[in-house]
């Protein structure tokens, strides 16, 4: 188990470094970052001045090393637009995004797991069909469009919820639903498939042969085994959701890290964009690592090996 964790940890660190290098090199995609920064119509002298100011004249690997070591200390440079440390900017905004991600994954799990279990208990029943419909629709639903429809219906026509902002918990209801619905189909399908498989297994028959009541068979014997892969999927989805929060935050004008990313991309604020890509990637890496560990801990076969 310890060996497994160490191996996964090593892989995670290696992935993290590679991702950091890729997100850093995005800066050079445009050819000349100094020219891009100066904007159109800037004079050659201005560009040269910027080049020296930001150190673009040094070799790329030196710049990367410099950036990486600063980043490891929590220093992501200064935002071109805000003229503030990027780390401060992001730290301010991250709470909203994390809160949204947490609400989203909770919503997804709370709806998807019971639906998946119910669908597996009675395949082809009405509840199974509803679950299937919800998951098929969810996979095809453009989240920006879904968000706009919710705003039109619940904020504008019915006036029940505020259309945008992050002032109270009520502001988070619609964004949570949109973001959670994005993760729901996969979790629902995996829960259903896992439960179906487990319910047909020999040890479920053993539990019934012991005279265990159906509730105990379903939840103690079946769900305990079916939930293991769902846990790691949920962690992976959580990582995807933080990255995907950019769409939801922009629709509902939630000033989180995703919103900051959208604004910064529009403003060519590369240090901020680089740092955000890196941070969102780190979240994904940390979540999948935790998922692997949790998975190993939940599964006795992996725990003891």
């Amino acid at each position: 188990m310890l060996q497994f964790i160490l191996k996964r940890l090593g892989l995670a660190v290696l992935v993290a470094f590679t991702v950091s290098f890729i997100s850093f090199s995005l800066l050079f995609l445009s050819g000349d970052p100094a020219a891009a920064l100066a904007g159109e119509g800037a004079s050659g002298e201005d560009i040269e001045a910027l080049r020296t100011l930001y150190g673009f004249d040094r070799p790329m690997l030196v710049q990367y090393g410099d950036w990486l070591f600063s980043a490891l200390r929590g220093d992501f440079g200064e935002s071109y637009y805000f003229k503030l440390p990027v780390a401060t900017l992001i730290a301010e905004r991250l709470t909203v995004t994390m809160l949204l991600g947490l609400c989203g994954i909770t919503f997804a799990l709370v709806t998807a797991v019971p639906l998946g279990v119910a669908a597996a208990i009675r395949p082809n029943s009405l509840i199974d069909r509803i679950a299937l419909f919800l998951s098929v629709a969810g996979q095809a639903m453009p989240s920006f469009w879904f968000g706009l429809i919710l705003i039109v219906v619940f904020a504008i026509k019915l006036g029940w919820l505020p259309p945008s902002g992050a002032a109270s918990w009520r502001h988070f209801i619609m964004p949570t639903i949109v973001l959670g619905y994005y993760a729901m189909p996969a979790i629902m399908r995996l829960t259903r498939a896992g439960m179906l498989e487990v319910l047909n297994s020999d040890y479920i028959r053993t539990a019934r042969a012991k005279g265990a009541p159906e509730v105990q068979v379903l939840f103690k014997h079946a769900l305990r085994n079916a939930i293991i892969p769902v846990v790691s999927l949920a962690a992976v989805q959580m990582g995807f959701m933080l990255g995907g929060s950019i769409v939801v935050e922009s629709i509902f004008a939630l000033h989180g890290a995703g919103y900051l990313a959208w604004e910064s991309i529009g403003r060519n604020d590369l240090p901020t964009v680089q740092a955000l890509i890196l941070i969102f990637s780190m979240f994904y890496i940390v979540f999948t690592f935790l998922a692997d560990v949790l998975n190993a801990w939940l599964d006795p076969r992996m725990r003891s090996s």
């Binding site: 020999d202 040890y203 539990a207 042969a209 012991k210 005279g211 265990a212 006795p300 076969r301």
Partner: protein, 331 residues
């Protein structure tokens, strides 16, 4: 004779399939006294396992079970509700399955799973349940029983797991134990040990057992009574002695020719086989089901098949002695 522990009359099991109804088990009758071992013999797909699952009330929801009578110690199982069946299962009647590798829940320890069997039916403390688990693990021949309680199924070998399954079935001291091919999934060297253990325990604890198997060698050693099943029907039933000494149905004779028996099979003589394939059981079935593979088949085999013989040895065949009269009596 005293009232039997188990009495089954005209048990039928139907399974809805794509193209109609699969009549998997048809018109099964048998009885079992306390302390008796009944062996149900037949090839794969003959309905042996379905019959045992029907007794336990463990058939799937879509499978239809009908019987004129199915009494367990005076309790009418055909009318027993879910709650009543649950109270019987694992307490007064328990079952041991074929696949020890997959029949234990991978997520819980052996101790938890053993204790659960007792906690479900008896008002005992966890400690008492664990003590009983240790006692039974020792009884099924597991050494260092107390330290095994914390182990998970994947840490045990197949033979050990089947011993655990047996211990689990015995937790409440059942009156009837149904063992569905308990040794087929195990190594040959382990098979004999497990079977011996099971039979000894049954005798020692004075339980009745239904042993389902396709291994006639096993049957010869342990069974009091034998029921031979073919394609969903009982073709021959009787005391073990009667079946082995005077097999009457052509199928039973075929089966016996397939196994070497000490003193009966000549050295170097080829073992028998039964050619042909088992028929499909979808749709209406008339006449003898074995006729497509039978050496003695005649036109009358398509009609009604009479029950022949007496109560302690019965078979179903159009021929009064189980073979065409114009032939020599087959070995």
């Amino acid at each position: 004779m005293s009232e039997p522990l188990l009495c089954v009359r005209n048990l039928n099991i139907d399974i809805p399939v794509g193209g109609g109804t699969l009549h998997a088990v048809r018109g099964i009758d048998f009885e079992l006294q306390r302390g008796e071992v009944l062996s149900i013999v037949g090839e794969s797909g003959s309905g042996k396992s379905l019959t045992s699952l029907a007794l336990m009330g463990l058939l799937g929801k879509r499978i239809d079970r009908r019987a004129d009578r199915m009494d367990f110690d005076g309790i009418d199982l055909t009318r027993a509700g879910k709650r009543q069946m649950r109270a019987l299962r694992g307490d007064r009647m328990s079952m041991i399955f074929q696949e020890p590798m997959t029949s234990l829940n991978p997520a819980y320890t052996i101790g938890d799973q053993l204790a659960e069997a007792l906690l479900l039916h008896r008002n005992v403390s966890r400690q008492q349940a664990r003590d009983r688990a240790v006692e039974l693990l020792e009884k099924v021949g597991i050494t260092a029983a107390a330290s095994r309680l914390g182990q998970y199924p994947h840490q045990l070998s197949g033979g050990l797991r089947q011993r655990v399954m047996i211990a689990m079935a015995l937790m409440c001291g059942p009156e009837l134990i149904i063992a569905d091919e308990p040794t087929t999934a195990l190594d040959v060297t382990i098979q004999a040990q497990i079977l011996r253990l099971l039979v000894d325990l049954v005798r020692e604890m004075d339980m009745a057992m239904i042993l389902i198997t396709h291994d006639l060698g096993v049957v010869a050693r342990v069974a009091d009574k034998v029921a031979v099943m073919y394609a969903g029907e009982l073709v021959e039933t009787g005391s073990a002695g009667a079946i082995f000494n005077a097999p009457s149905h052509p199928y039973t004779r075929g089966l016996l020719r397939c196994i070497p028996l000490p003193g009966r099979t000549a050295r170097g003589a080829p073992l028998g086989t039964i050619p042909g394939i088992v028929p499909s059981l979808v749709g209406e079935i008339g006449g003898c089901v074995f006729r497509t593979r039978c050496d003695h088949a005649v036109a009358a085999c398509h009609g009604a098949i009479p029950h022949r013989g007496e109560a302690d040895h019965m078979f179903r065949c159009v021929h009064p002695h189980g073979h065409r009269e114009d032939e020599e009596t087959p070995a």
